[in-house]
Symmetry: C2
Subunit: 415 residues, 2 copies
């Protein structure tokens, strides 16, 4: 246990009020949130958040990707800001905590600093990243990705949603096509992000918060098997080229491959497209996706190669053509020791039970870590349910996590 | 080889002309046929066929299900008619031979009898059964099924298509809601049906025609696996209840089960529904269909039980709920010896190479065989392709089959 230089306590009531307020914009009848990036609901919550930041006396700006920043000055000239935040957009009919908790916790932190009249040497900046979810415009971590130089601004401007509306036009429409260049304005001291776990580990181990040490790497893609449609009744078994059979073999192997590859390795076949998809016709073409994640990039590459090999042999067995294409390959992220140490120390100082955890999903912090030392903290996520209206974190767990974030950020802003 | 009492030869040119004429009604740009039951195209071909039957001097009638009959008188009082036919409706974007060849061959037969001034003791009746395909209104063999007392007229009247149009209203709309009761008008001497094989055996064995001895029994149904949707990245492998994994296991087993069950046993998983069907979400619910066919009803029952057992164990292995439902169970059909013998004798008499064949798909003859002795003849089907615009039978093969049908029918009508 390490004692914090200076512990602060966020305002529980205000934190929950702010969470409830933000959840009104795009709130669903079933208590979830439908607030797709650059939608009218996103515009409304942005307007609300801009007003809140201004109310807190922050110096606000919007960049060319619509990322929203609000800066609280530091007392020492030229010191690098401590950046805190997450995202306010949601999945279709998602939950009210995913993303929003990290933004609201950052806002509540600066409000508490004001309440207690605390000045920090480092400036503190809070951020709402545009389109983290990639649900409407299909680039996840879109705003932070351009900001960190991973994605190109021009390419992302041209992304369209299902109704063929361009990202840049929608950004303009909602009034968040900012003038600031989408890039780090200054060197940053660090970035800290609070997010719900979206997994069951904290709850099942009865912990208060999770210190994220790593984010897994991801390989995602699809295999298309092309066989031959034929009559299910009249085509002898030995004359079939059934595209669904090797797809089934591959699904079985995707389930098996991670079992020998360590605890943070997972593999999922989540999407299947069968054509013609008629009960009495032998399937002619089947596409199946893989999603592999591993803490080690070498393990991920090994898993990827196994998927390719299994797809090939499954196709050969059935005399079916195989075409595999990897859509996404993200290398794994190790967060900076000084950030994870500060988060761990804050949790210790506040007497919260915590564990180290390997994150299984991408977050803005993954891209921001390319720019500055970064760290992440997970709040309990009941049942590990997310991207669902059933997503739930009780207020005590929200508060514990927000408080941990605040104390770690304060520690780093005082350095 | 048995010598035919009296051999006739159909008119090759007229047969092909009639085939081409019928193919105009609902003909597609790619040479296929889109003539769903009770559509405008079906109405048009019915009007054409009615006119052709009247032109041939047949005594025509339409029954309450829209089945169309045309009778040529026999010379002996009170003798039972020989019935010949098939169906003029098609699958969506199907071929021009499936069904139509059997109806046109029957029509060409009576035209040839007239040409050659042949009178038969038995009357000869030709028939176009309504909605054999079950593509638009989803009861296959609908017209023959009601006629044979398998289906209820009232229930079939209420069937709706995807636009919620009722069968009986559409029957009325196209003017084929006949007054005749939908039931056998008289005892029939026999029923003979010519159809394309819809399978590859005749072509691969280089035969002219196939004598259908049996039609397989069918078991068709679906298994629904219900697991739990969860995040593909953050849910450890040992905490998953992935509905797609047992579905894949079942698909593999459906491929394997028939291999130990004899040559006319086939098994197909043709339809899959995955929910939510998103690459990075563990599938929560998957429905997969089975289609099993076997010549022996006992073998079919054995296969059905194996599918149920495999589904159960696959679900248990993954901790996923399993619900199986059999939609269709058709017992197998053995055609009457006197019909298969007459068809075989006709092929021999005409020096056509033939084999006995077990039909793998349902045909109107299956239901008609409940009413009177029935037999079926298959024409070559190139590549075994059907229910496709690529369906193809060359005119020589059409003619050989039609000629065989005609000579067998003549033999039976002369008895």
């Amino acid at each position: 246990m390490r004692t914090l230089l200076m512990a602060i306590s966020l305002d529980f009531e205000r934190l929950t009020d702010l969470m409830n307020e933000q959840a009104q914009f795009g709130g669903t009848a079933d208590g979830g949130l439908h607030r797709l990036a650059l939608s009218d609901e996103d515009e409304a919550v942005r307007d609300w958040f801009e007003a809140k930041m201004r109310g807190a006396g922050l110096d606000t700006r919007v960049d060319e990707m619509g990322n929203m920043f609000g800066r609280r000055s530091g007392t020492a000239d030229g010191t690098a800001p401590v950046l805190l935040g997450s995202h306010l957009d949601s999945q279709p009919y998602g939950g009210i905590y995913d993303g929003a908790l990290g933004v609201i916790a950052a806002l509540e932190f600066v409000l508490t600093l004001d309440d207690q009249d605390i000045q920090t040497p480092h400036p503190i900046e809070i951020v709402n990243w545009t389109n983290e979810e990639g649900a409407r415009f299909e680039t996840p971590l879109q705003g932070s990705g351009v900001w960190a130089g991973i994605h190109s601004l021009d390419a992302e401007y041209e992304r369209t949603d299902r109704d063929d509306r361009r990202f840049v036009d929608e950004l303009e429409r909602i009034g968040y096509h900012g003038a600031e260049p989408c890039e780090p304005r200054d060197p940053y001291a660090c970035y800290l992000e609070l997010h719900i776990e979206q997994g069951p580990q904290l709850e099942s181990k009865n912990k208060d918060v999770g210190i994220v040490t790593d984010i897994v790497g991801v390989s995602r893609g699809a295999v298309t098997f092309s066989g031959e449609a034929n009559h299910a009744g009249t085509t002898p078994m030995d004359q079939r080229r059934d595209a669904l059979v090797p797809a089934a073999d591959l699904i079985t192997q995707i389930r098996r491959i991670p079992t020998r590859m360590g605890e943070n390795t997972v593999g999922t076949a989540g999407y299947l497209d069968v054509s013609p998809n008629v009960g009495n016709i032998i399937p002619a073409e089947v596409t199946v996706t893989w999603d592999l994640r591993a803490r080690s990039d070498a393990v991920l590459e090994n898993g990827y190669r196994q998927v390719q090999a299994e797809a090939t042999v499954a196709g050969q067995r059935e005399g079916v053509d195989v075409e595999a294409s990897e859509w996404v390959r993200l290398t794994s992220t190790q967060f900076a020791d000084r950030c994870t140490s500060a988060l761990r120390a804050a949790a210790d100082g506040l007497d919260y039970e915590h564990i180290d955890i390997v994150g299984g999903a991408g977050h803005d912090a993954v891209y921001v870590s390319e720019v500055c030392d970064s760290g992440m903290l997970f709040a309990v996520s009941e049942g590990g349910i997310s991207h669902s209206e059933d997503e739930f974190t009780n207020w005590t767990d929200c508060y514990s996590a927000a408080n941990t974030l605040a104390n770690a950020a304060l520690e780093m802003a005082m350095e």
